[in-house]
Amino acid sequence: MKGISQRSGDIHLLLQGNEAIARGALEAGVVFCAGYPGNPSSEIIETLAEAARDLPIYVEWSVNEKVAVEAATAASFTGCRAIVVMKQNGINVALDFLTNLTLSGTRAGLVLVTCDDPSGISSTNEEDARIFARIIDAPLLEPTTPQEALVMTTWAFELSEKIENIVMIRSVSRLSHTRTRVLINELPSFDPRPHFDTGLSFHTFPVVAKHKMRHEKLDLARVLFEKSSFNHYEGAVRPELLIVSSGCAWTYVTEAVDILELSDRVGTLKLGTTWPLPKGFLKKHLAKCDRVLFVEDVDPFLEDNVKSFGADICMEIGPKEYMGKASGHTPSCGEQTPASILRVLGRLFSVDWQDHAFMDKVSPIVKDIAPPREFGLCPGCPHRGSYYAIKTALAWDDRDGFVSGDIGCYTMGIWPTGFNQVKSVHAMGSGLGLASGYGKLDRFGFHQPVVTVCGDSTFFHAAIPALINAKFNGADVLLLILDNSATAMTGFQPHPGTGKTAMGTKTDPVDMEALCRSLKVDVEVADPYDMLSTAKIIYRNMQQKGPRVLILRRKCALVEGRERGFPYKMRVDQDLCLGEECGCDRYCLRIFRCPGLVWDKHAQKAKIDGVICVGCGICSDICPQRAILREERE
């Protein structure tokens, strides 16, 4: 983002939510920034890394989220403001450290940003990370707009220093990726002078005393929250319905209230500081009305906490009708949308908000416009070759083998694009952890071979302990590292194997072969584009015992396309192509499914979509007629 590191303020920039969070951190004088990539959080560290070209700050992609928080905390302990960024899944990884950190406390401002992915649009789950603020007793802030995200982030550092503890900010996909006009402020001077005061110590003992102190810090935050401008009320003095909301969901609420023209019947309570609850502020507004509706993304976090508080003060404010996820008024999972809120409010106020005449006219027209689409690996993706080789080897082996999957683009191995080979996916590194378990079941008569896959970045992130476990316990494990030399799914961030850091500094790449060999684990390397040879290597490895590693190495097709381009121009010789006839049955389209191959309805044969095809050439090897031709690009 151009201008993100400019020192002067009082001007407007068009900023994405994530860029606004980055700018907010810079305006707070942050000097240490760490994170692990993951949608929708990645742009924060990327923006800060860009700013590091102009500003004296340090930015890193850490090997995983736990290490990221630890590294950032070191900066805090030495008096430097630090920010650590991750997606919701990352909080799970970092949690062990976080639960202890909030007992020991921090020094310079330390802010943890979690960007949640309601509906799991590019995640394995739609976990609501706010619950962890309660678990670790950390104050939680929820911005609604990029502007507020900027201001809130800056303030979070002050709050952190005031209570000497880490502060959490929760964004969601829509906020992180929304771009609006944002007023920026002047940057401070960056002069951190780190020093660890050896008169201090940071640990959790005595545990109970530290736990008590942690609660007191939270109480102090609560006092500050009572007066916070991040919380406000809008609407009638005595509304018929009080809507309590936070984050992006609040913007949907205001939109729905506007559309339904309910602004003089409904009151909207927007909470920016959602843990601990600003009880005094809340009590004042709860007293306004007997019906309360909660609108928030994913879990009933506000809903449960406010209801619990409402029970505490019910003698003062009287009984309420609480509506939300528990009552079924709002959906109990998935992302909120303006429509979902229009639906609830429409029902509660008996307003028919849908233009049925328009819908009747439009719906038959748009019905067939959008074709059904499935998740798909990119044309030229080396994972397609890898999965084809895996599928071939598993079929050859014929012992009902399967793939234990992991997190990355190759998670799509659960779908037809990866030939449905992957039978389980959970957390990063879990594919190998599971495989090390399967690999010990032979004593009970389990003989299905298990192949596990993980990406290069995932290998460094969390697979190494599982590999050591397999080695230590002598598990029969075949790990395929799908090394595409990038953290491709999240946008090509560098990782320990790429030889480059977040700030673009050259670094000695971690040699994963050497790492495996140091464990005395057999390592081989194969080319996923050479599918048949790779299948034979996989098959041979499947017949062996103990832990083995096979690295399937090919650069991500998107990176290759940008750097060098692909060598071939592909063409289908339709005279040779069998189409639907016996001997083919549209094998390239039905089974191989590269999006670059399409059906020529007129000729009833396959053809290449010249716009989509990148020219990797591997489909030529799967055509039973050799009708897909590789021609050298001029």
């Binding site: 599928k391 079929a395 050859w396 016996c582 001997g583 049955d585 094998y587 799967i622």
Partner: protein, 375 residues
């Protein structure tokens, strides 16, 4: 207590299938195509004998390391795979066994002449099984341009034996000797036809000879395919072994590959002999029987009745082969090879002919019985 547990179970039953079960049902596709029939009736029942007839016609079947495998699902209603498979009931297709001027016995099938023969080629005799007649005839047919190439079974290069195309004497000698394991030799035939090869000779087991006869009636191109084959030499076969399970077992018994040669001497020996770099080893036949291909028990053809020439061992006469000449081509080839001093022939002793007929008849009976049991 018991009733409470029961009530609990009833309650659970009332809830219906678990989420996992529902998801699994949604994922299972309905299977009704041609390939599905082959998979359901033959492969999934473990009846495939790995003749290889379906392999190489399309990408949906592979032969790998001793097994024929369905690699992906084809959606067609009709398919050559199911038409050519010798394990699928023929239905209406009447296969044309040669009729004119032949003896047609219920035991040995149609033939013009039964003799015994042996190769006069020292090199072949050294490598080949018994009389070496098959290797000699193939080499001879190649030399005389009766055939341009021959589909044989190789010794397996780190994997189970597989079909291969032989074009020269050294190719043929490299393939000499019996394997006793199913090895999908017809895959090599399909691949050779794909590359446009003509005047092919083939050596195969009875099931493969039957598949070749079905080939003529298969799909749109069956006739053309069948016409590219000019010489079919069938091998006597009692059953074939499943390579993978057999060698997994033999490896456990300390056998080290590669296998140089194997033999099952005629009764009453009752042993399976294997030669490796460590020398010859013998295993009781009864230890080997569990690895017989299940589908072989359905087979009613011991002497490869659909071939031009059928060749097998002779009880008690190690250096010679029994040779059944079934067609004019087979008869002529044998006569020429004898005239040219490639093989020598003699009358098959009556006692041996009777043994052969009896063994062949027994196999037919067993096959008929088992077919009734399995189907």
């Amino acid at each position: 207590m018991v009733s409470r547990v029961l009530r609990g179970r009833l309650l659970l039953d009332h809830i219906g299938p678990t989420y996992t079960e529902v998801l699994k049902r949604q994922m299972e596709s309905s299977a009704s195509g041609a390939q599905d029939r082959l998979i359901n009736k033959v492969i999934d029942k473990g009846l495939c004998v790995a003749c290889g007839a379906c392999v190489g016609l399309c990408p949906y079947f592979h032969y790998f390391d001793g097994k024929v495998l369905a690699m992906a699902r084809c959606s067609r209603d009709t398919g050559r795979c199911v038409e050519i498979c010798p394990l699928i009931d023929r239905g209406d297709i009447a296969l044309d066994k040669m009729t004119s001027d032949v003896m047609n016995t219920p035991e040995i099938g149609p033939y013009k002449k039964i003799i015994m023969a042996c190769s006069l080629d020292k090199e072949i005799n050294e490598k080949a099984q018994y009389g070496g007649v098959v290797s000699s005839l193939i080499t001879y047919a190649l030399g005389k341009d009766i055939i341009r190439s021959a589909i044989l079974t190789d010794a397996g290069d780190g994997y189970a034996p597989a079909g291969t195309v032989a074009r020269s004497r050294s190719d043929v000698i490299g393939c000499a000797g019996s394997r006793y394991t199913a090895s999908a030799g017809l895959e090599a035939l399909n691949m050779a036809i794909k590359t446009g090869e003509q005047k092919l000779g083939i050596v195969g087991l009875p099931c493969q000879m039957e598949a070749l006869t079905r080939m003529r009636h298969m799909g749109s191109d069956g006739e053309n395919r069948a016409n590219s084959i000019v010489l079919k030499i069938g091998l006597f076969c009692t059953w074939a072994l499943d390579y993978r399970s057999l060698f997994a077992d033999l490896r456990n018994r300390g056998l080290r590959e590669p296998i140089l040669k194997c033999d099952i001497p005629p009764p009453p020996a009752g042993v399976f002999q294997i030669c490796t770099r460590d020398g010859w080893r013998e295993f009781p036949l009864n230890d080997i029987r569990p690895f017989i291909k299940k589908g072989c028990s359905l087979c009613q053809d011991m002497t490869a009745e659909w071939s031009d020439i059928s060749v097998g061992a002779i009880e008690g006469i190690d250096e010679w082969n029994t040779v059944v000449l079934r067609t004019d081509l087979g008869l002529r080839l044998m006569e020429q090879a004898t005239e040219d001093g490639v093989v020598k022939v003699d009358d098959l002793p009556k006692k041996n002919l009777m043994h052969l007929a009896e063994a062949s008849f027994n196999k037919k009976e067993r096959g008929r019985l088992t077919r009734g049991e399995i189907r």
